[in-house]
Point group: C2
Chain length 195, copies 2
Amino acid sequence: MTTAKRDTYTPETLLSVAVQVFNQRGYDGTSMEHLSKAAGISKSSIYHHVSGKEELLRRAVSRALDGLFGILDEEHARVGRAADRLEHVVRRMVEVLISELPYVTLLLRVRGNTETERWALERRRDFDHQVAELLKAAAADGDIRGDVEVRLATRLVFGMINSIVEWYRPDTRGASGREVADAVARLAFSGLRRA
Amino acid sequence: MTTAKRDTYTPETLLSVAVQVFNQRGYDGTSMEHLSKAAGISKSSIYHHVSGKEELLRRAVSRALDGLFGILDEEHARVGRAADRLEHVVRRMVEVLISELPYVTLLLRVRGNTETERWALERRRDFDHQVAELLKAAAADGDIRGDVEVRLATRLVFGMINSIVEWYRPDTRGASGREVADAVARLAFSGLRRA
């Protein structure tokens, strides 16, 4: 667990510690006491920065959501054939997931017990919906196979991407974000079999 | 929550209730008290059937593991080109996951805090390893693309399959096990793009 010196504490480092604790104990199972211990600062020092743990949750999932929604504004997500835009979005989703791993992990584990969690779930559904629309457009163009229902295909591709949070560890000698993104794009669009 | 009449209680119905509670509360968060309440029978009646909650966990994950390992003994998993055997195994994994949904869900959520959980994780790793070996053999035959590392490909395909427990609900009007199995096999082996 990271601890930081009191005098160098910033909202950013506090957020980073909070996300670790949320991911480890679950958001529901985390108290201000746990956050105070993990951060190595008093509860009143935490309240100096934020109104409480729900604000930390909102900031953390916002960071993940901003990363994901930012993808949809990128030129390659807006211009070109739907199938190519979709491939760009899938590749970038993997990159954002890996570069913002603890934040996206937290986002994917949100349950909906508080207002902030329900807001996060709503935003996630909105994102998923926009990606599903891209898949639908690519199917209408005839670029995507017609024998797998769009909603099912979306779920399975998201399942493949989101599963990365379960095993990807940045500190192990393994594939880089770019390599995993290439692998996901190849499997999702062309499959395992050699053409 | 299912409740059953005391006089019709069998080890099978007790197991089915226990798995529901484990999946809802988490295995660690479930007490004999919770199981007794959910089953509508006394704790001593439960002890008449099993030695405790760990035995229920072992029986539940065994049912999932027996289903999965049973696939590897099927003729189409043993005879033929590795890529075709792999495709059979992937398709059947989806079918077993859906037919034994609560049991496989529990298996996938096992954390490793008790001996039974560690045993289950070990058996899961063994299964995953055997599927990875099949993928490796298919790559050696030249039937599987060479530009995605075998371990990474295995993880992503498992990620796609295992994600099904997060959204598949047997009671909603949706795809059948066979339809989901077809979709997974098509996406995993040939990808989204129209050839």
